[in-house]
């Protein structure tokens, strides 16, 4: 049997073209070569387009009386006020009551406590022997009275435990509220709010106010322009009353549409609507760095 199998195998081997092995080998190599070639410059891959970044200005809302420094700076000042001192004084309290939880345990041990607690009411029962003349009735009454007393004691304990729980909850709430008021900037000494301002409102300083005000007056459609590489520089001088004294173009963009839109914005910003601390010269650079893309 074995010899016949070997013979057949040999016959098969002789029947196969010796070049076929080479062909299969070359084919395998070519298939391996394909992914390597795909990585070469002959098959360039397209770079991914980075998505447009949109910027939303939620912080620089102008206020008439901007505060100084970071928001927490104002809160520390407010801590001096009497009502907030109460809040401040409460947080330390929660620490000592921590061991209190055992008091609440009686809730879970209503049955075993019965035996221990009974000795206390016993003297009360002792005073009742006056009623002893009616033993048959008194036993039933006594058990009923004991039950009633036990119920009252349990109720009292439950009320006390509830009061303790509420007190603890109140303390924890106060502690959380006090902690949440202590706003911490993610970056220490971050210049949030007005640096030069001396007011008490969370907002921005004069410079940011004027910047925001002029920005709001500047209207220009992206469909009006074919390029975004435009920049102009204008000097605006405002009086202490917030009125525009004079302006001059230090540098024009050269694009008539862009420059005339700036002129309109300046004319609309004649009155800032709030006084400045002193006469100020604003050197304003207008450009379109953050304008949305035009396809």
């Amino acid at each position: 049997m074995e010899s016949s199998r070997k013979q057949r195998w040999r016959q098969l081997q002789s029947a196969v073209d010796p070049g076929l092995r080479w062909m299969l080998l070359v084919s395998l190599l070519l298939h391996l070569l394909l992914p390597i070639l795909y990585q070469t410059l002959w098959f360039p891959t397209k770079e991914r387009v980075r998505p447009t970044v949109y910027r939303v200005n939620l912080v620089n809302k102008p206020v008439k009386n901007p505060q100084a420094g970071r928001p927490e700076a104002v809160l520390t000042k407010k801590k001096k006020s009497p009502p907030k001192v109460k809040l401040k004084s409460k947080p330390p309290k929660p620490l000592p009551p921590k061991p209190k939880p055992p008091k609440a345990k009686p809730k879970a041990k209503p049955v075993p406590v019965k035996a221990k607690s009974r000795p206390a009411p016993k003297p009360v029962i002792k005073s009742k022997p006056v009623v002893k003349p009616k033993p048959a009735v008194s036993e039933a009454q006594e058990t009923a009275l004991q039950r009633r007393l036990q119920q009252l004691r349990d109720k009292q304990r439950q009320e006390q435990a509830e009061k303790a729980r509420q007190a603890k909850l109140d303390m924890l709430r106060a502690a959380v509220a006090a902690e949440s008021r202590q706003v911490e900037s993610p970056v220490r000494n971050a210049p949030v709010g007005s640096v030069t301002g001396k007011g008490d409102q969370v907002g921005v300083d004069e410079r940011d106010y004027v910047r925001e005000f002029i920005t709001q007056q500047w209207r220009l459609s992206r469909y009006q322009l074919n390029t975004r590489n435009l920049e102009a520089e204008v000097v605006l001088v405002y009086s202490t009353s917030g009125k525009l004294l004079h302006y001059r173009f230090e540098r024009k963009s050269g694009n008539e549409v862009f420059d005339s839109s700036l002129l309109r914005a300046i004319l609309k910003s004649k009155d800032l609507g709030q006084p400045l601390q002193q006469q100020t010269e604003f050197d304003v650079t207008f450009n379109l760095k953050d304008m949305l893309d035009k396809p």
């Binding site: 360039p44 891959t45 397209k46 770079e47 387009v49 004069e206 410079r207 004027v210 910047r211 002029i214 920005t215 709001q216 007056q217 500047w218 209207r219 220009l220 459609s221 992206r222 469909y223 009006q224 322009l225 074919n226 001088v237 202490t240 008539e256 549409v257 005339s260 839109s261 002129l263 309109r264 914005a265 004319l267 609309k268 002193q278 006469q279 100020t280 010269e281 604003f282 050197d283 304003v284 650079t285 207008f286 450009n287 379109l288 760095k289 953050d290 304008m291 949305l292 035009k294 396809p295």
Partner: protein, 432 residues
């Protein structure tokens, strides 16, 4: 000596009084609002009033200017007394009232009828600087109200952007409303459709001459898809290219002297340049694959076309002088019908994605590819407006073909063709 002392003291006193101006640097890197508040006052009669004129004018002008995306129209309900005065001079306009309403620009005008003649006076004012930006006096007939409104909308865009608008141009398209695919012409807002051909066959791929009021298109009128030319006003028609096989996708060069088209006279479709007399000037492609849909670059030096030479249909660009071909699109399995923006910035095309076509645009260097249309239906055959601000395309949805228009960024899409007419293959004319 006393005088000097007094002068010195006065100077010292003045210097103390003088308030030193604080210098502050500010950078503003984007406008606060990207629309211009515009008030359009209804036309007022300068003589006897005629019903319908002011309303039609207002509707067309508002429609055009809203579509431009530039404006935020002030509600006419809020208009004050100045809106009722026909003030055609800047000194007569009460700009304070318009400032109160928040308008930055103001359009006022009036009309007068002299028999059949209609005279319309129109003004565009800058409310902030209180000056006249543009003023026009139009002469026409009663039926020209829409045309006058379109023309003034173009002038408004010219005044505020430096580039004339495209509203007073035309759109050619193929419609099957008679049962046959025939060539039609309509206004940009879809009004005044006019049938130009009566071939009772199949008409395809219209394109406008940039210099003359004439169109080229492919028609099977004589059995073979031949290229025809038609003069719009005279109605004269002639066969321009009648080579055996395909004579399709004809596109005029920007100077109007040559036409790029696909010919298959050698059994394989290739892009050729022919003269306006139909003679072949140059063969631009030479590949065994199918090369179709040529579209000229605005400088007339390159042509974008569709080829399946790399397997799937993709957009390629051929240089007319060197005949060097470069591939433009790599993504997607089927990219077709390229249209080069006449201002040069981008190439629009249709791509098959999820079993439907959508319009995309890409820079000629292959960067910054963007999808412009979304939603149901196949959007194909994009063509640019002459100012490159808008695109017109055909939509095939629920077995109904219609023509739509949108801004170059894909916003503001609106249907312009009438319902139930099966319209496709739009082409936007140049300045009319």
């Amino acid at each position: 000596m006393k005088i000097y002392r007094a002068a010195l003291l006065t100077l010292l006193f003045c210097s103390l009084l003088a308030v030193p101006a604080l210098a502050v640097r500010i950078e503003i890197s984007a406008p606060g609002e990207q629309t211009i508040p515009l008030a359009i006052v209804p036309l007022l009669p300068m003589g006897t009033a005629k019903a319908g004129i002011a309303e039609e004018f207002q509707q067309v002008l508002e429609n055009d200017l809203t579509f431009s995306g530039l404006f935020d129209l002030v509600d006419p309900e809020s208009f004050l007394a100045d809106a009722k005065k026909l003030t055609l001079h800047s000194t007569q306009v009460d700009f304070g009232q318009w400032r109160m309403l928040g308008a930055d620009a103001l359009i006022k005008g009036g009309y007068r009828l002299e028999g059949e003649k209609l005279i319309v006076e129109l003004r565009l004012y800058d409310v902030v600087s209180r000056r006249l930006l543009t003023g026009r006096r139009y002469f026409g007939k009663l039926r020209d109200v829409r045309r006058i409104a379109h023309s003034f909308a173009d002038q408004v865009l010219l005044s505020l952007t430096g580039e004339l608008g495209p509203f007073n141009s035309r759109i050619a398209y193929i419609s099957k409303r008679t049962g046959y695919k025939e060539l039609y012409l309509m206004d940009v807002d879809g009004h005044n459709p006019v049938r130009l051909t009566d071939h009772r066959s199949i008409v395809l791929n219209p394109d406008f001459s940039p210099t003359r009021k004439e169109l080229i298109f492919t028609s099977y009128k004589k059995g073979n898809p031949d290229l025809y030319r038609k003069e719009i006003y005279t109605g004269r028609e002639s066969r321009l290219s009648l080579k055996p096989g395909l004579n399709i996708g004809g596109r005029y060069s920007p100077d109007g002297r040559e036409i790029a088209l696909t010919l298959s006279k050698d059994k394989n479709s290739e892009i050729y340049l022919i003269g306006t007399d139909g003679t072949i000037h140059k063969r631009l492609t030479n590949h065994y694959s199918i090369d179709v849909d040529p579209s000229w670059s605005p400088d007339g030096q390159q042509i974008a076309f569709v080829s399946d030479r790399r397997g799937n249909p993709n957009i390629f660009i051929v240089d007319i002088n060197t005949l060097a071909v470069k591939r433009l699109t790599y993504a997607g399995k089927y990219n077709a019908t390229p249209a080069w923006n006449p201002k040069g910035g981008r190439i629009a095309f249709a791509r098959l994605k999820d079993r439907q076509f959508n319009i995309f645009s890409i820079r000629p260097d292959g960067s910054d590819e963007r999808q412009l249309t979304f939603g149901p239906g196949s959007k194909e055959h994009p063509r640019w407006s002459p100012d490159g601000r808008f695109l017109v395309y055909s939509l095939d949805e629920n077995n109904e073909k219609s023509i739509w228009m949108m801004r170059a960024d894909g916003t503001g899409a609106r249907r312009i063709s009438a319902p139930g007419s099966s319209d496709s293959h739009p082409a936007w004319s140049g300045r009319w």
